[in-house]
């Protein structure tokens, strides 16, 4: 009885008695979830356009952030470094298309998935070789990212919002809106959706797959850069972020592999669920539940709706 009380009643009593803590936890969850969502967004972009399950997305986040910090460290102006990092990400997209995707065209999905593992390993080695393996501090001041926090006295307590998190939320929303416009209004965006629907049909109406792939990997690289900046500003920049990047996988399951809104909503659900679970139910089992909570949410979800919240229905034909 006591255990049932601890599981089903006590957390809600806590939530009711301290709404400010609940609000704070929710906010933290939303911010964390937003960062998961951004990584998942990169996955979705690439999966939609090329059917490649890009495991390297998490590493691209770290790599972009490392490049930015590394270039800034050698004395470049922050915005010049930002511009150069964008050039590097384009170069990366181009190189990946040339050396990995093009020779592996028409191979089974698992082979391409495996190839992105190769990219992951290569980028880890390359990034550490060039910029060193020590954790680095993200440039925040020179990029005019806000610092400090806003404190609200509401709900019978205080709720603290980091200004950086608010900025991240705004930038992320602008970026998602921009991507949505890009996908629906521009020529390239329409070509991209055509490729997502069917490679061969897109080829037959004269869309260059190679070009589209470079563009889409570049777009994913930009998303990775933005993610890297905000994530790096919250903690520090190192390849330890790799494991956190794996959190984007349950987000994908929740949202569906091909849906951009799905990635966002999924990210927020996972972020909030994980924080609430750890804060209210975690102590029951000794804490540390955020290591697996997201995956279990995804697993339960999979059993009832395998295609995700917004994914296209999976139809199989014999």
């Amino acid at each position: 009885m006591h255990l049932l009380y601890m599981i089903f009643i006590d957390p809600f009593v806590q939530m009711g008695s301290a709404p400010d803590l609940l609000a704070q936890t929710l906010w933290e969850g939303l911010v964390g979830g937003m960062l998961y969502a951004l990584i998942a967004l990169g996955f979705v972009l690439i999966f939609k356009a090329s059917g490649v399950f890009n495991f390297a997305q998490g590493i691209m986040v770290v790599f972009a952030a490392l490049t930015l910090v590394g270039l800034h460290d050698i004395g470049l102006n922050a915005f010049l470094a930002l511009g150069l990092t964008i050039v590097v990400m384009f170069g990366l997209a181009f190189a990946i298309e040339r050396t990995v995707l093009r020779p592996l065209i028409n191979q089974p999905d698992i082979i391409l998935f495996m190839a992105t593992f190769g990219i992951t390993y290569f980028l880890i080695g390359f990034g550490e070789f060039v910029f060193g393996g020590d954790p680095k501090v993200m440039v925040t001041d020179d990029l005019f990212l806000p610092k400090g926090s806003i404190t609200y006295h509401t709900l019978g307590g205080i709720v603290q919002l980091q200004k950086l998190d608010i900025a991240a939320a705004i930038v992320a929303s602008i970026m998602v809106a921009g991507l949505a416009v890009f996908f629906s209004k521009t020529r390239i965006g329409r070509a991209l959706r055509a490729v997502a629907d069917s490679h061969s049909a897109a080829l037959s109406v004269g869309i260059s797959l190679e070009q589209i792939w470079v563009i889409v990997w570049f777009a994913a690289g930009l998303v990775a850069l933005v993610t890297g900046i905000f994530w790096g500003a919250r903690s520090d920049v190192s390849f330890a972020l790799e494991v956190i990047a794996l959190k984007a996988l349950p987000v994908l399951i929740l949202g569906g592999f091909t849906s951009i809104p799905g990635a966002i909503v999924g990210g927020l659900i996972i972020g909030v669920g994980e924080k609430l679970g750890e804060f209210y139910w975690g102590p029951l089992v000794g804490g540390g539940t955020d290591a697996w909570f997201a995956y279990v949410i995804a697993l339960v979800f999979l059993l009832f709706r395998p295609q995700g919240l917004f994914g296209e229905r999976i139809i199989e034909r014999v």
Binding site: P103, F113, A115, F117, G118, Y121, G125, W292, A298, P306
Partner: protein, 357 residues
């Protein structure tokens, strides 16, 4: 020329169904056995302890994953955790019953891994492909969390790690810090040979064929009368059994002590690399892949030192990462079906030599 089956007639069904129907293959296998038995005679502790033992253990884990991913087509990223289940099960068993032969517990611990694997294999009925891979990640992270948060599993040690006790087999010390590399090597070799032989019979028999039917198209397999639930769960159970035994051997016969981080997600990825590079759906590929992925970094670490380049250890590590990544991509481009396929191509070329085809 040298490799030709001309004149080797099959006069009964047994010889027609033999796993190695060609005489040259059997000779080659015998040579490999002799070399494997003779390796400890080289008195090279590094070769035995740091190369051959882990290579054989990883090969066994790769065979396990290959039965699941290569033969049944179910992608799993939980290998590391299933190996961990084996290791912790073996540790608990030998702590509770210290007088029972340790080799029995190493093999028995596989059954615990098999049970856990079958439970986490349940979602495979509804989902497959990448979705299943992510579902197995749940197993990976949940089990890893269990290894650190349930103190009973590591006997409430302060170090929160498995500390392998000393155990004897017929009066010879086989585990613990005082066991010699040769003893441990021979035990690993024996287990790996027996289990590879079993795996070979399994995948060439009825069970293996149902697995392959499920891999090629599960709906079609179901229509042909293969029951998906038992088939998929059996694949998960057998695969986890192999991984569990590999994990137990990894801890007891190689590391001598292990924390939960040994069985983390990177371990799962490493084993997955091995089977994809080696060849999905090939037992030989499991060995070749394990050799490439495990031994390559060791070789790479030695090359700069031998060339007299005074590189920093960290730099060598980074370059190793880069080269491993580049090689994975290179092998995938050169031969997506893996090293096992390269070997078959090579055999075919030998067979028709000196003619091109």
């Amino acid at each position: 020329m040298f490799y030709r089956e001309a004149g080797q007639f099959k006069t009964d069904y047994a010889s027609d169904q033999a796993v190695f129907p060609i005489l040259q293959d059997r000779i080659g296998l015998a040579i490999i056995f002799v070399i494997a038995l003779a390796i400890p005679l080289a008195q090279n502790d590094f070769l035995t302890n740091a190369v051959m033992i882990p290579f054989l253990i990883f090969s066994l884990a790769a065979i396990g994953l290959n039965m699941l991913t290569g033969y049944t087509g179910l992608l799993s990223l939980g290998t590391g955790a299933f190996m961990g289940v084996g290791a912790y099960a073996c540790y608990k068993l030998t702590s509770i019953f210290p007088n029972v032969n340790i080799v029995i517990w190493i093999v028995a611990s596989g059954f615990f891994a098999a049970a856990v694997g079958a439970i986490f294999g349940l979602p495979s009925l509804r989902i497959k492909g990448f979705y299943l891979a992510i579902a197995t990640l749940a197993a990976q992270f949940f089990l890893e969390w269990c290894f650190t948060h349930i103190p009973w599993l590591y006997n409430y040690n302060i170090s929160a790690a498995i500390e392998v006790p000393q155990r004897e087999l017929f009066g010879i010390i086989v585990t613990g810090p005082r066991a010699t590399a040769e003893t441990r090597y021979y035990i690993v070799l024996a287990v790996v040979i027996v289990m590879t032989w079993l795996a070979s019979n399994l995948v060439h028999g009825r069970i293996g064929r149902t697995w392959m039917a499920v891999r090629d198209m599960d709906i079609a397999a179901e229509l042909m009368g293969i029951r998906l639930l038992p088939t998929k769960l059996l694949a998960f159970a057998v695969s986890s059994f192999y991984c569990g035994v590999a994990g137990a051997m990894l801890t007891f016969l190689w590391y001598g002590a292990a924390e939960s981080t040994v069985f983390n997600i990177n371990q799962s990825f490493t084993i997955l690399f091995m089977i994809i590079i080696g060849g999905l759906g090939s037992l030989l590929g499991s060995f070749l892949g394990a050799a490439l992925i495990y031994i390559l970094p060791i070789v790479l670490r030695f090359v700069p030192a031998k060339l007299g380049l005074g590189l920093h250890a960290a730099t060598v590590e980074h370059i190793t990462f880069m080269i491993t990544g580049a090689l994975i991509i290179f092998f995938l481009i050169a031969e997506p079906a893996g090293l096992a396929r390269l070997w078959q191509v090579g055999k075919q070329k030998l067979r028709v030599w000196p003619f091109p085809y």
